[in-house]
């Protein structure tokens, strides 16, 4: 028999509160994406010279934002269902989506950190070679 921890009323309420804010954050991420798309369209009509770069940057941020928003919304949906119906499988799915959300964010930070360090390294090498 697999050991299980029964959630108290306080824990259930805390999880439920987190689902509310996760839902808001997820929806707002999608709204933000929509606004970015609107800015891209405006740039298209104004014949912005850097439009191609903007499109690439939008597509990249759209994929990342959508993955994060979908995982937040799935966390909210499954956790709420799991708490209300005492369903462990739904809670597991909720925590899985929460993990994916934080993993994506962590990996993005790792990539950003790597690029930043690479930039510093290139800057240092350039400085040394110019001396």
């Amino acid at each position: 028999m697999e050991p299980k921890t029964t959630l108290s009323e306080a824990s259930s309420a805390a999880i439920k509160a987190s689902t509310q804010w996760a839902k808001y954050a997820g929806v707002l991420t999608i709204v933000n994406l929509g606004l970015s798309f609107l800015q891209l369209i405006l740039g298209f009509f104004k014949s912005n010279p850097g439009l191609f770069g903007s499109m690439i940057s939008f597509l990249l941020s759209a994929v990342i934002s959508l993955v994060m928003a979908i995982n937040l919304l799935n966390y909210a949906k499954h956790a709420r269902y799991g708490i209300q119906n005492g369903n462990s499988t739904s809670l597991y799915q909720a925590l899985y989506h929460l993990k994916v959300y934080f993993t994506v964010m962590g990996v993005l930070f790792l990539i950003a950190l790597g690029l930043m360090l690479l930039g510093i390294l290139i800057g240092l090498i350039t400085m040394i070679t110019q001396l």
């Binding site: 959630l7 009323e9 804010w21 954050a25 707002l28 991420t29 709204v31 970015s36 609107l38």
Partner: protein, 155 residues
């Protein structure tokens, strides 16, 4: 009605596989929290460097195209205080976010060590506060995007 809701809450359970997911989540949240602290520290260093070399920064900006004289005058007058305030706010938000993420990790680890159920409550309370800040920041970001879109459409 209230009693019925409570009884439904009490039947909710988390098994070992769910706890494993929570532990993995908390490790990433700790990492992100540390990154936020590093970013806040870098911002402090950057602000100090810019303040120490404000004249040189203004000279570089004046030679760059697209920066008006009005903007440069504003930067050397009250603009530097606005810049300082902005950096302080951003740094403060980063630190607060980092604290909640690290506390989330600590609570999950305490649950792992002591098996006290109340640690799950603490963990999710910290997570809720983190998500709350994220939501507020998203609202600010949306407001700024709307302003930018309107200005871009008009100009």
């Amino acid at each position: 009605m209230q009693d019925q809701t409570n009884s439904i809450f009490e039947t909710a359970e988390v098994d070992t596989s769910s706890i494993a997911q929570l532990q993995s989540t908390s490790r990433w949240s700790f990492f992100i929290g540390i990154i936020y602290i590093i970013l806040a520290a870098l911002m402090v260093v950057l602000t100090v460097v810019i303040y120490a070399n404000l004249d040189q920064v203004v000279n570089v900006l004046s030679s760059a195209s697209g920066v008006s004289n009005e903007a440069l005058e504003f930067l050397t007058a009250n603009g530097k205080w606005v810049f300082l305030l902005m950096m302080l706010i951003v740094g403060f938000v980063l630190i607060i976010n980092a604290i909640y993420l690290i506390r989330f990790r600590t609570s999950v680890r305490n649950f792992q060590l002591t098996n006290e159920e109340k640690q799950i409550t603490f963990a999710f309370e910290h997570l809720t506060k983190y998500l709350m800040i994220t939501t507020i920041l998203s609202v600010i970001s949306i407001a700024l995007s709307v302003v930018a879109a309107v200005v871009y459409a008009i100009v």
